[in-house]
Structure formats: C-alpha cells, structure tokens
C-alpha cells in the first residue's frame, strides 16, 4: 500500500498528453526495452499513477481508464497458461498490439521533439512583409462587329419607341374612359324620373360645372328619354328652362 503510493509520487504528476504519453514515460523511466515490456510491472505503475491522481482529486480522462482496462486484460492473459495451439495458429503475444502502437506513438513523439529543435533554429530568421502589387489587367481584344452594333441600336430604339407607344395607348384608354357616354346619361335621367322627381334641365346639366360635351350629351339623353315615353319635356319659353316631368302611367 505504502509502496504503491511511494511509487506513485516518484512519478511526476505532470499533465500527460494521453495514456500513451504516460505509458511511454514509464517505459523510459524504467529503462525498459519497449519490445519486451514487463506488463505486470508497468500495469502496476500505471494503476498507481491513476490512484495518485484520484487521491489528489484530479479528473482522470476516460482514455486513461480505457488504457487501464486494456493493460489489466493483457496482464491477465499473460498469467494464463498458454493454450495448446494448432500448427497454423501461431501463438500471438497479447502485448503485440500495445507494443506496436507504443512504437508508432514514440516515432511521432520523437519527430515532435525534432520539430521543436528545428523551430528554435528557424525562429531566428526573419521575413519581410509582401508589398502590394497591383493586378496586371490584360484587356482581351473585343469581339465586336459593326453589324452587332447596328442591330443593337435598332433593338434598343425599337424598345424605346415601343415603350413610348405603350404609354400613348394607355393615355388613349384613359381618355376613352373619360368620354361621355350617351347610354350612361340616359340611365342617369331614367334613374331620376323613375323616382318621380320633376327636375329642371339646368339643374342637371349646366356648363357652369359640366363640360360642354356632357351638357350636349345630357340634352340628347333627355330627348331620348322623352322619345321612350318615360318623361315629358317642356320648354315654355324659347331658350328658356326645360322641365322634365316623369310619366308615371307608363
């Protein structure tokens, strides 16, 4: 118990980068041949380390626990007597995969040390900032023709004229709608006489507030309504007021 703890404290309680980092540290510390790891010993030391971490209330990453399980598994397999093997099946060292992965890891670890050394040398070297170099713009020869220019002009002018024409058509339509319609006037007068109202023409249509066209059309409408027999039209004096009286009997 105490020896386990003592062992644990001889391990630097450093931040190991991962389970391989810790394993690797143990291998180096114990000056072990990486290809022939005494698995029981290493497993014990590994567990001691985790133990120490736990006692110090340090969080143990799950990767370390997975490795612990792997180590214990290998240890137990090493303790078992070797099974009888057939000729084809050669006995596989339970440590093999772990060892190969450790060797692999060691190579990158070594290379990362090499990188650190390289960096120390090359940090002494300085560079100059790039100057701003304006883009080199090459104008492609234009593929143009007089004919394209010509048809382009015809097209754009035609569209313009078309647009202008379109505008004048719209204007005409608006004016058409404005035009006084005789039918509408007849309907207007029928509506009034239909309600039995006697009315003076001058009250209905007066150039003071209606257009001449409207007054003229209104007069035609009155004559039309009289012709239809829906109203009586009287003008007692020449150029005098015209009275429109509804004819209810019809």
């Amino acid at each position: 118990m105490s020896s386990a703890l003592t062992n644990a404290y001889t391990i630097k309680l450093d931040n190991f980068e991962g389970p391989f980092d810790l394993l690797f540290y143990l291998v180096e510390k114990n000056k072990i041949d990486i290809y022939d790891i005494p698995i029981a010993e290493i497993t014990d030391q590994y567990m001691d380390y985790l133990d120490a971490m736990q006692k110090l209330d340090l969080e143990i990453a799950s990767e370390f626990l997975v490795m612990a399980a792997t180590l214990l598994h290998i240890k137990s397999r090493m303790l078992l007597p070797a099974k009888e093997t057939t000729d084809e099946e050669e006995e596989i060292d339970p440590r093999e995969e772990l060892i190969l992965r450790l060797v692999e890891y060691k190579k990158y670890k070594d290379f990362s040390e090499y990188l650190k050394e390289q960096e120390k040398d090359w940090v002494l070297v300085h560079y100059k900032l790039p100057e701003i170099i304006p883009d080199l713009v090459i104008a492609e020869e234009l593929d143009v023709s007089a004919e394209v220019l010509r048809s382009c002009y015809i097209r754009v002018m035609s569209q313009y004229k078309g647009r202008m024409n379109d505008v004048s058509k719209k204007m005409k339509r608006i004016l058409d709608r404005e035009k006084v319609s005789l039918k509408a006037k007849i309907r207007e007068i029928l509506d009034i006489v239909g309600r039995g109202i006697k009315i003076c023409f001058s009250k209905l249509y007066n150039t003071a507030y209606k257009s001449r066209l409207e007054v003229a059309t209104g007069f035609l409408a009155v004559l039309e309504v009289a012709k239809l027999g829906r109203a009586r039209v009287e003008q007692p004096k020449a150029f005098g007021e015209i009275y429109i009286t509804p004819r209810k009997d019809r």
């Binding site: 300085h126 170099i133 080199l136 143009v144 007089a146 220019l149 382009c152 002009y153 754009v156 569209q159």
Partner: protein
C-alpha cells in the same frame, strides 16, 4: 568588433526586416557605432548598391534608411501581380455604346431615357475599356457631361470615322416595333 563587411551584412538584415525607414539613430545604436560613422557607412553603402548590378537600393528618407527596388525593374515586378483578364462587353454595355455611337455627343440622361434603366456601370465599363470618353458638357440645365466614342472605338470596330457607322433607316426601327407585342 565586427568587420565592415559584417556590419554591412547586419545593416542589410535589419533594413530588410524593417520594411519602413530605419532612423539613423536607431541604426547606429544597432551596429554599435556613433552616428557620424554610421552615416559614412550608409553613404558608402547607398553608392555601392546603386552602382552594383543589384535589384534593390537604399533610399534615404527623412533621416532614415529603407530598401526599395530599383525603378528599372518595375516591369518585371508588375508580373508578380494577379493577371486579370478584362471581360468582353455585356449586352448593357453594347446598348449604351450603340446609343452613344449613333447620337454622340450624348448625356447620361439621354442614354437612360432611351434604355429606361440606370446605365452608370455600363458607362464606366466603356470608359474603362476606352471605347467612349467624356466630351465636354451640355449647355442644358445642370450642364451634364457629354460622352462620345474614342479612336479606340473606331479601331476596334474597324471604322475609319464615325461616318462609317452602318446606316439605319427610320422604318427599320418601325418594323421591329410592329413585330413586337406591345403589352
């Protein structure tokens, strides 16, 4: 104490890294010589860079020293830039060009009235490509700029003069119009 060659190498390394002018004072501090000696060394160096077949030289700016490239190598340096190819004309640019060609000199307002859309970018493309240019100002209100076609325009289209523009009959425009749906 460093040899003069060594000092010159130090100066080269320092000026190279600095980029901006290094004041005489700073430089003399770095090489560990008084200002007068440093100035003499620099005057000598400036002369030698200038006359050696080198691509860079030393400029004295505001009592400081700076490396710069020799002007005769500008054309080579320019090739370092990104090569960008100018695009052909867009249909908008073509339209504006046609309007300018047939109506020059012409204002932007006129062009936009014909096309019915803003034509700023097409105009600047055409100016950029040297196909049209400003041609004074109109007498009208606001004295707007006038545009006309350039020599380059004639060259590209193969015209001897503006009179070479293909003739357009008024009825051609009419015909196209009649074939166009109006709404």
């Amino acid at each position: 104490m460093e040899s003069i060659k060594e000092i010159e190498a130090i100066i080269e390394a320092v000026l190279f890294t600095a980029g901006d002018p290094v004041p005489l004072e700073k430089l003399s501090d770095i090489i560990g010589h008084d200002k007068k000696t440093t100035k003499n060394i620099m005057t000598d160096l400036i002369f030698r860079y200038k006359n050696a077949s080198r691509g860079i030289m030393i400029r004295e700016i505001n009592k400081g020293y700076q490396f710069c490239t020799k002007p005769e190598y500008n054309d080579y340096i320019a090739k370092l830039g990104q090569v960008r190819k100018k695009q052909g004309l867009t249909s908008a640019a073509y339209e504006v060009l046609a309007i300018v060609a047939y109506n020059q000199p012409v204002t932007k307002a006129y062009i936009e009235k014909i096309r019915g859309v803003n034509s700023d970018s097409a105009l600047s493309t055409l100016i950029d490509r040297n196909l049209i240019k400003e041609a004074g100002r109109d007498d009208g209100p606001g004295r707007p700029k006038l545009y006309e076609t350039t020599e380059e325009f004639l060259r590209v289209f193969g015209f001897a003069s503006i009179q070479d523009l293909p003739v357009i009959q008024l009825n051609e425009i009419q015909e196209v119009m009649e074939n166009m749906p109006l709404d």
